[in-house]
């Protein structure tokens, strides 16, 4: 049973546009929310992560927004580039746990 629901399943955006991916969870006992980026034929790679005591974190063109009360967090890709075309996974880690639970993934296609 997946603990995190990710949407949309796929999206297409024009070069320079904004990509937004959302994740929602139910249990409140999580303390780490990473996002992974995966290119075809490769393993997922950590992109950016946030803790629940922070509402937003920005690294370059990638921003995580975290809404603790709504139990939602999202990834924004600003000024999307063709090189951003990949599958993105949100994940979360339970407090005191050593495992991650992943969302189902979002395939992002950036049109030139």
């Amino acid at each position: 049973q997946q603990q995190v629901k990710q949407s949309p399943q796929s999206l297409i955006v024009q070069k320079g546009g904004i990509s937004i991916i959302n994740c929602a969870y139910e249990n409140t006992a999580f303390d780490y929310f990473p996002w992974y980026q995966q290119f075809p034929g490769k393993g997922p790679a950590l992109l950016i992560a946030i803790r629940p005591d922070v509402s937003e974190k920005k690294e370059g063109r990638f921003t995580i927004s975290f809404n603790k009360s709504a139990k939602q967090f999202s990834l924004h890709i600003m000024d999307s580039q063709p090189g951003d075309s990949a599958t993105y996974f949100c994940a979360l880690k339970g407090v005191g746990d050593y495992k991650l639970s992943f969302g189902a993934g979002t395939t992002v296609t950036v049109r030139a």
Partner: protein
């Protein structure tokens, strides 16, 4: 990139045969994980290890077993492969630090006919 090597990278086998996948790390990380990736399901944890000879089940462990006799190696075994185990398998490692980021290998594509 984290030093993680998965072998084989591709394998085709028949239903009912045993299959062993290997994950080898050069980072001396304590935690190692096996996931399977299927369309629409993301990454699902099969088994994980928190030290030599210390392993535990994940959410989709039925039909799989693991062993870790050395820090650097984590083996995943399908005792009698079934077509439902056709998937891409990823190994990940973590040093168990506060935020415990996991680093992934490049996967093994397993087809069971």
């Amino acid at each position: 990139d984290a030093g993680i090597t998965q072998s084989p990278r591709h394998k085709v086998t028949e239903t009912g045969t045993p299959v062993t996948l290997r994950c080898h790390q050069t980072e001396n990380h304590r935690y190692m994980y096996w996931y399977r990736q299927d369309p629409g399901h993301g990454l699902r944890l099969i088994h994980y290890s928190y030290g030599v000879k210390d392993t535990d089940k994940g959410e989709v462990s039925d039909g799989y077993s693991v062993s870790r006799s050395k820090t650097e190696d984590f083996l995943l075994t399908l005792e009698s492969a079934t077509s439902s185990q056709t998937s891409v398998y990823f190994c990940a490692i973590s040093d168990g630090g506060r935020l415990q980021p996991q680093h992934f290998g490049d996967g093994t594509r397993l087809s069971i006919l």
